[in-house]
């Protein structure tokens, strides 16, 4: 290989290396431009006072957290007791993100279970999948409990335990 050729090779490789680093850095920047904005991330906390929202046994309510529906069900005495319930005093609650784990539609409460209109998935009062394409139970949102007040978005021992019971 002559001296002339290797100098050209060196220039070529240098050019390719600079272009590759610059290209990769640009891609990282472009990727980050599509990330959720800081204001979106910061607005991620919601409180629900279970004693003060007029919950009736067997009639779930729908609350909102991070633009997602949260199902809050006060269980009746006839309903199965489940390790993954949120227990506060004598009362047992189901608190889940109300999005079907198949493709994210909002199932609606039909007598004693949630039914999804999109692809026919069904979930029982514990939030466990019982029929159709959903691959797993409803997801438990991270929350902490202070007396009867839930703070959604803040990971606490109760929500961790509920997640573990469904794993």
């Amino acid at each position: 290989m002559s001296k002339e050729t290797s100098r050209r090779d060196f220039l070529g490789y240098s050019f390719a290396a600079v272009a590759a680093v610059g290209g990769a850095a640009s891609l990282v920047g472009m990727k980050q431009a599509w990330d959720p904005l800081p204001s979106v991330l910061a607005a991620g906390f919601t409180t629900i006072d279970l004693a003060n929202i007029g919950l009736e046994p067997g009639k779930p309510q729908v609350h909102t957290w991070r633009g997602k529906p949260i199902f809050v069900l006060l269980k009746t005495d006839d309903m199965e007791k489940f390790d993954g319930d949120l227990v506060i005093g004598e009362k047992r609650y189901t608190v889940v993100i109300g999005l079907c784990t198949h493709l994210g539609c909002i199932p609606s409460w039909k007598k004693d279970m949630w039914k999804c209109a999109c692809h026919g998935g069904e979930f029982n009062a514990n939030g466990q999948e019982t029929f159709g394409p959903p691959p797993k139970p409803f997801v438990i949102p991270p929350f902490s409990v202070n007396d009867t007040v839930l703070t959604l978005g803040e990971e606490g021992t109760e929500s961790k335990a509920m997640m573990a019971a469904r794993a």
């Binding site: 990330d35 904005l37 633009g67 209109a117």
Partner: protein, 416 residues
Amino acid sequence: MAKINESLFTAEGFDKRMNAKKFWKVMMTEYWIPKDINFLWAMGVVLATTFAILIVSGIFLMMYYKPDTALAFDSVNYTIMQEVAYGWLFRHMHGVAASVVFLIIYIHMFTGIYYGSYKKGREMIWISGMLLFVTFSAAGFSGYMLPWGQMSYWAAAVITNLFAGGSLEAWGLVEWIRGGFAVGDATLTRFFMLHVFLLPIVIIGIIVLHFYTLRIPHVNNQESEDIDYDAEAEKYLAGNKKESKVIPFWPVFLSKDFAVLGIFLIFYFYLVFFNYNFAMDPVNFDPANAMVTPAHIYPEWYFLWSYETLRGPFFDMFGMKAMDIGLIIFGLAQVIFVIFPFLDKDPDILPAHKRPRFMIWFWIMIIDLLVLSVYGKLPPTGANAWVGFYATAAFLLLWISLPFITKADAKARGAL
């Protein structure tokens, strides 16, 4: 550079600078098309025209549309539909053309499959065409989100949620695509950008590529005859137009295209003026609401068949979750047509009517896609779920059998 003394503003001077006559000859008057074709060969020009209609009507819509969750719904349903002069016309033209363009794409695709126009030298035509199908699908999906009605919102929620399956969830891919925890303002604005800028630019690029891929292998013909284009073109140019097996693209081929195009446009404008409702789902005239899923959601008709393969497998099988099986088949359905040329093991280019087993395969595939489309729109309960399941299974079996069926035809003909 050769010295050019003629003024730019004379025909000769212009031609000397731009070589326009030569360009016209290469692209038009000496671009050869076989004579032995039928109206199905006009679909390319029909598609190009429909795409032009989409661009023009889209430009007018874009001048009043607002890509903001607080304004989008009213900017479409109040401003464009009621205030802008002919705003309703541009919206209905855009919506109906977006629907009809898929009808023509499917006809164009299955014409290619029937006549074997995807193989032995024509693979790049097929592959670039399927890239167009994928980019048109992306454009259709992103555009459907813009009116920000209930169907817009929930189609966006369900389809972006596909990227939350399995380990994709851990990568935060779905939040990245949406720009938030749920489909929202950031999602709407970025899909607006994709719909009105990035995707149209990419589509135009691929259309140019698609036209170019035709140039070397030429268009196929009804009997898949191998034509010596140089010899036939020479006959035509020497005046033996009757004997020659070819015609020039302009003016001869295009005159026939324009006749077909005329009939198509009568059909299209009939839909625009008298039957636009099929492209305007009533559910989408309710503003987007993240807290209420419509009772029954379904995509536009052209996505129904692949949507049905997603939900066809509704119970766990082979140690896999129903959802994962559905996702795998759905993913496969999006790309499997691209590799058609490589699954066809017949060494000859022949139309389906000369390949008896393939002919049966072809019609079963069309019937299966129609069944999938019909059941994709029905609620997935009871017997419907089973029809969907078997139609999805049939879809898979058809693809698995394709190499064997095409080989069997070749053997029976003595070609293998």
